[in-house]
Subunit: 174 residues, 2 copies
DNA sequence: GTCTATAGTGGGATAGAC
DNA sequence: GTCTATCCCACTATAGAC
C-alpha cells in the first residue's frame, strides 16, 4: 500500500476517533463523513471502499504498538515482563483499536510492507525459539482479550495472571 | 435461566446450525425462522429478543466444552497438554460457535447457573494457583483465536506453539 | 473534491387477526 | 402459536451535476 494523500490521512485520523470512542461499529461511512463535515459519498473519492479505510487504521495501530514495544525493549533491558506490561498497557489504552487490529485476518495486501514484522520483532528477539515466541504471543493476546471482554470475575487479580504467565516463560527468554 | 420449552430447544438447535454454517452474522431472526419453516415474528412468542436466543446457544456450547474437557481429564490422567489439546480440538471443530461463546461479556443473567464454573473446573483442578490457571486460560484462548483468525504465517507449526506453551506451565501443574 | 439524490439490501421488532 | 402486514432503522455504494 502506498503513502496516503494528506486528505486520506485526515480521514483515517477521523476514523480513528470514531473507533476509539465507540468501537468498530461506530465506524460507518456516514458517521465518518459527518465528523469531517462532508457527505458520505465524497469519501469514495479517497478510498475505494470501507475496508480500505479500516486497513489504513490498522496500519497506524500496528505501527504504534510496535513503537510501544520497542520503547519497552530499550527501557526494560529486554525483560519479558516489561514487554508484557507494555503490550497490555497499549491494549488497555486503546481497547477498540486493539480489537480492530487483531480481529479477523490481516488485510496484508492493503498494509505497508514490514509493519506486521516490526510489531513482532521485539518478542522474537527476546524469546528463544519460534514456538515459544508464538506461545507468548498467544498468552498476551489471550489475556488482553479476556480482560477487554470482561471475562474475568470482578475481583480477579489480572496483574498476577500476567506475572504468572510471563514468569512461566522466563526460562525460555534469552 | 430456566429450562427451555421443547419448542425453544428446537429453535436454539436451528440457531446453532446457522451459526456453525455461517458464523454469528448468519444468525438473523428471519433466517432462523425460515430454517424452521415459520415466520420471523413467531419467534418472539418463544424468546423476548435475539440476545435470548444467543444466550441459549452460548449455554449449550459452554456445556459441551465443559464435557469435552472433563473427558480429556479422565482419559489423560490430568496432563495439562491433554487438556490443551481437547480445548483446541473443540474450538477448531466449532469455530463459529467458539467465537460466539467467547466474544464479549458473558450474559451471565441469561445463563443456567454453574455452566461457566463447570467449564473452568478441569483447568482449576490441574493448575496450581489462581493466577497460573488464568494465565493458562489466556494462553489457550489466545492461541485459539490467533489460529481461527488466520494470524499465524502460512507454514507456522501451531502444534509446536501449543507444546511450548503447555510445557512452560507444566511445572505449575499439580 | 464535493454535492444531491437514490438505489438496493438487510436488519430487529411490533400490532392485531386467526 | 402462527400468521400477514408493516414500521423504522441503518448500511454501502453509485450516478451525475457543479
Amino acid at each position: 500500500m502506498a503513502e496516503l494523500s494528506p486528505r486520506a490521512g485526515q480521514i483515517v485520523a477521523a476514523a480513528r476517533e470514531l473507533v476509539e470512542a465507540g468501537g468498530s461499529d461506530a465506524l460507518t461511512m456516514r458517521a465518518l463523513a459527518a465528523r469531517l463535515g462532508i457527505r458520505a459519498p465524497s469519501l469514495y473519492k479517497h478510498f475505494p471502499d470501507k475496508s480500505a479505510v479500516e486497513a489504513g487504521l490498522i496500519a497506524v495501530a500496528l505501527a504504534e504498538l510496535a513503537a510501544a514495544l520497542e520503547g519497552a525493549e530499550r527501557d526494560g533491558r529486554g525483560g519479558l515482563a516489561v514487554l508484557g506490561r507494555a503490550y497490555r498497557a497499549y491494549a488497555l489504552a486503546h481497547p477498540h483499536l486493539y480489537r480492530l487490529m487483531s480481529a479477523g485476518p490481516l488485510p496484508r495486501d492493503l498494509l505497508p510492507a514490514g509493519v506486521e514484522e516490526r510489531a513482532a520483532l521485539p518478542l522474537v528477539r527476546i524469546v528463544r525459539g519460534e514456538a515459544a515466541a508464538r506461545a507468548v504471543w498467544g498468552l498476551a493476546h489471550g489475556l488482553v482479550m479476556l480482560e477487554l471482554d470482561g471475562r474475568f470475575p470482578p475481583g480477579a487479580d489480572i496483574e498476577a495472571a500476567w506475572a504468572a504467565g510471563m514468569s512461566a516463560f522466563a526460562t525460555a527468554a534469552r
